[in-house]
């Protein structure tokens, strides 16, 4: 085996924050006191929170050390399926931290906030073009928030037509958050099985779509990394019964500049700016989940909306049929700046190229690994491919074992045990920003792990050994939760 990239490196121990410091220290430059103290009813005041007192150096070392225990896209390849962990361009961080943007109060009058409004207006237009939709709201804060928005729009649409529909179709290849988002709107999710080829047959929808069903939530490309080839027929069936088609755009990175979802039957879809449009995921957010709609749903979009009157941009709340607000202000503006910067840097050709290379990278991995790992759907994939641990069952080696061993090789593991339709799934999404050399190294690593599974399976069961900690006892954590220190 070649020397792998995964090494233990310089990993220093670091205690918990409150195990450090000394009363009376402060890591903050306290402003000069230029006013006198004012009296205050002592019955109202408390003792103040029991925070540790730390110096600036204490704080800087603490978080610097912690950061070194983390793996990010900047550390190495992060092929987490359905999460699109592409490179996060550094220039976008600069734009988002420009004082005029970062320091802007959300209630500034429009004539003092034209820059932000123009940026939002532009981004809406770009996203409408990319998806082939008519109108966009940037308000949802993340993908699941976008799904909720989409469901609320569908709910409001049916309600406005005097119909009260209770069900929504959710295929087994749809994104994981879909059923919960539908349930929040009072819809009862109706499961539908994908066919043997991994895609939904139109007949399956015909069989269950009725006038009590609000619509369908469909992820395209789906979570098997396959394009829903019957999408046009499915949309026709749903529309013919008065339903609407919701698209989960988590996998949009496969088809930018190739498919416009609005042109193939989608009525509403969300995008994840923190996936497709390169904004960093932040260890779990903030994201941004804009929702794009066809004109039939436009009246229901959240308020306020950015509108243009002559040369001036305004925020308007004058949409009487709107579903209202999804959060206090206009969405995660800081994230929007980064996504807008990305789109403007890439341009039309760059985006299309990104999708092409994302699909090329995934297919390349699929071809090279399909003899080592079981490939349940052996057909051309889009931006991700799904394997399973079926071939390793004899050695009693699981997907989890292989995933953990990948860490020792210096890679972040793929998404595991999802989608649920594949038992022991391992879902690999390389994205377009990984080079051929890095992908070759990843393929080598997985092949080597598969070989280890045959020769020395315990090596995998004990993995990982190189990171700061080894496998953690999650059962104990859930049984006796210790959530604060």
């Amino acid at each position: 085996m070649k020397e792998p990239q995964g090494t233990s490196g310089l990993i220093l121990n670091e205690p918990l924050l409150w195990e450090k410091g000394k009363k009376g220290r402060c890591g903050f430059s306290m402003p000069r006191r230029d006013v006198v103290p004012s009296p205050l009813d002592e019955g109202l005041t408390g003792d103040g929170p029991d925070f540790p007192d730390l110096s600036e150096v204490d704080v800087v070392r603490h978080y610097t050390r912690l950061s070194q225990w983390n793996f990010g896209v900047d550390t190495g390849m992060y092929p987490l399926g359905s999460c699109t962990m592409k490179y996060n361009p550094k220039i976008n961080e600069r734009e988002a931290s420009l004082p005029g943007f970062a320091g802007a109060h959300p209630l500034l009058p429009p004539d003092l906030s034209q820059g932000a409004l123009e940026l939002m207006y532009r981004l809406e237009q770009y996203l409408a073009e990319i998806t082939g939709m008519d109108a966009v709201t940037l308000q949802p804060a993340a993908g699941a928030h976008g799904e909720l928005t989409g469901m609320l729009l569908i709910h409001a649409y049916h309600k406005s037509r005097g119909s009260h529909r209770l069900k929504i179709i959710v295929p087994d290849t749809a994104h994981g958050t879909n059923p919960a988002s539908a349930a929040l709107c009072g819809f009862h999710p109706v499961a539908v099985k994908s066919g043997e080829d991994g895609i939904i047959p139109a007949e399956a929808i015909t069989a269950i779509m009725d006038e009590d069903t609000a619509g369908i939530m469909i992820t395209n490309p789906n979570t098997l990394g396959l394009f829903e080839e019957n999408i046009r027929e499915i949309a026709e069936v749903v529309h013919s019964k008065g339903g609407l088609v919701y698209g989960d755009g988590a996998n949009m990175n496969a088809v930018m500049g190739i498919v416009q979802m609005g042109k193939i039957g989608f009525d509403v879809m969300h995008l994840n700016l923190h996936k497709t449009f390169s904004t960093p995921h932040g260890g779990g957010g903030p994201g941004s989940g804009p929702v794009c709609v066809k004109d039939i749903l436009e009246p229901f979009l959240p308020v306020p909306r950015v509108i243009k009157k002559g040369d001036e941009y305004l925020l308007s709340g004058d949409f009487p049929e709107s579903i209202g607000k999804l959060q206090a202000f206009y969405g995660n503006f800081g994230v929007m700046i980064k996504a807008c910067s990305y789109i403007m840097s890439m341009g039309s050709e760059g985006l299309k190229r990104a999708s092409q290379l994302a699909v090329l990278n995934a297919n390349y991995i699929k071809e090279h690994l399909k003899d080592s790992l079981y490939l349940p759907y052996d057909r051309a994939c889009m931006h991700e491919c799904v394997f399973s641990d079926r071939l390793q069952e004899a050695e009693k080696i699981t997907t989890l074992d292989m995933a953990k061993r990948l860490m020792d090789y210096g890679f972040h593991p793929p998404t595991i045990y999802f989608p649920l339709v594949v038992h022991g799934a391992m879902m690999i999404e390389p994205t377009e920003t990984e080079s051929k050399e890095d992908i070759d190294r990843f393929i080598e690593a997985l092949k080597s792990i598969v070989a280890e599974a045959g020769k020395d399976p315990d090596l995998l069961r004990r993995a990982p050994t190189r990171p700061k900690v080894r496998r953690l006892d999650e059962t104990a954590a859930a049984r006796k939760p210790r959530l604060t220190g």
Partner: protein, 443 residues
């Protein structure tokens, strides 16, 4: 394109490996009638240099401090952010990681969020806090849905002095479930009138905000008592967590769920987002709580470590029976606030909160002396309402031209309070700036 590493040679050898004749061949499974024929109508890609020029010009078309003296709060606060916090937050090991599903190589995020959860419980006096929600408004909506789950009741009472945008968000979230929302009126002193609660049945929650939208400190203990008497949970919302550096925390006054906006704690205002939804509750309700939780455990060698835990509440396990659909939250903002709280420390946050209070009192006093009426007698933190009178609009505009934003007009949300403005003063506002405002409104 500099983000795309493939050379032409790479592409052709990879295409050969997958048996495709050209790159379009990879998309042959997409039916022809699903593909677009023309290129997307987007501007041509910009160079880094061109992008900077464009963004610089957009960002300059904004009114921000210090060029402008902005006396606006109302849910978004201008607090000084230490350079060390911004610098540390830029560590891309934190920012370019995904949700910590693989704990062995995410201990940095996990320990930091565990510390965040702990600091939040200490600030709010609660027993458990989650890893964050989107913002204060959606956190309140989720808190009310949680109270509905816990009590199995369908009605909530919310104060009219909760931020109007938070109430709008609550209406959006609660609409499809046909839950009833009752608004609690306000008293003359700027607090919520909770006297009606006793007569309401089937109540899942009583929600107030403190400091409330008028900046007034509410009577938490009495609100908790009436809520509990009617079998409802007491939900406390906030937009300015800095207040709890000085005032009694909600936990010691009977709150069951405390949720609000954490933007004040080291997060840029950024035109309203991303912010930080803070969310805490009693331990007995933890299994009904939305959002992610980090817990402490040990590894195979007995070494301490951290993992995401109690995931059986969450959407990816429980599907449609999940407690919430939240998945991605605002983790990096939670990290920023933890860094900020750590930088201030217990001593520092107390001092800074006092300074906020004293500065706001200075302006309040000055305006009073200048002859303006302060309509609400309740104590406030760093925001308060002043009656500038019906004809103030022109002065407001004139001040704007002098780069002074004299607060937020309340008339939009409270028509009966036309001429009333909500003013905010934080530690970033100098005495001279306040003197200028007083002088200008007097004239």
């Amino acid at each position: 394109m500099r983000y795309l590493p493939h050379t032409e040679e790479d592409v052709s050898s990879m295409l050969r490996a997958v048996g495709a004749k050209d790159i379009n061949d990879l998309f042959s499974m997409i039916p022809g009638n699903c593909k677009i024929e023309n290129n997307l109508k987007l501007p041509e890609g910009l160079t880094e240099w061109e992008l900077n020029t464009l963004m610089d010009s957009l960002s300059k078309n904004m009114a921000v401090s210090p060029a402008y003296k902005i006396f606006m709060g109302a849910g978004s606060y201008n607090h000084y952010i230490p350079e060390s916090v911004s610098y540390l937050l830029g560590r891309s090991e934190f920012s370019t990681a995904y949700t910590p599903y693989q704990p062995e190589i995410s201990q940095g995020t996990l320990q930091a969020i565990y510390e965040y959860q702990t600091l939040v419980t200490r600030l709010l006096g609660m027993e458990v806090a989650n890893a964050s929600m989107y913002d204060g408004a959606s956190a309140l909506a989720e808190a009310l849905l949680m109270a509905i789950r816990v009590t199995k009741r369908k009605k909530v009472a919310i104060s009219k002095l909760i931020h109007p945008y938070y109430r709008d968000t609550v209406r959006t979230y609660l609409e499809p479930g046909n839950y009833e929302i009752v608004e609690l009126p306000r008293l003359e002193d700027g607090k919520t009138d909770i006297s009606g609660v006793a007569g309401m049945d089937d109540l899942a929650a009583v929600a107030i905000q403190s400091p409330n939208f008028f900046g007034c400190i509410e009577d938490l203990r009495s609100t908790g008592e009436v809520a509990h008497k009617s079998g409802a949970l007491f939900v406390l919302s906030f937009t300015e967590p800095m207040a709890y550096g000085l005032f009694k925390n909600p936990g010691c006054q009977g709150a069951d769920i405390v949720c609000g906006e954490g933007q004040s704690l080291g997060i840029p205002q950024s035109f309203g987002g991303p912010g930080l939804g803070m969310f805490a509750c009693r331990m007995k309700h933890v299994r009904n709580m939305p959002g992610r939780l980090v817990g402490k455990t040990t590894d195979m060698d007995g070494k301490p470590g951290f993992v995401l835990t109690l995931a059986t509440r969450e959407q990816h396990i429980r599907r449609e029976k999940a407690k919430s659909n939240i998945c991605t939250n605002n983790s990096l903002c939670a990290l920023a606030s933890a860094m900020y709280m750590a930088s201030l420390g217990g001593t520092g946050i107390r001092e800074l909160a006092c300074l906020n209070y004293d500065k706001a009192e200075y302006l309040k006093r000055g305006l009073k002396e200048a002859g303006f009426y302060i309509p609400f007698s309740s104590p406030t933190f760093n925001e308060f309402v002043v009656n500038f009178g019906e004809n103030f609009k022109d002065t407001y505009k004139k001040l704007m031209e002098q780069r002074i934003i004299a607060g937020v007009s309340l008339a939009t949300w409270y028509p009966e309070l036309s001429g009333h403005y909500l003013l905010c003063v934080t530690e970033t506002m100098g005495r001279e700036d306040m003197d200028t405002l007083i002088k200008e409104v007097r004239s």
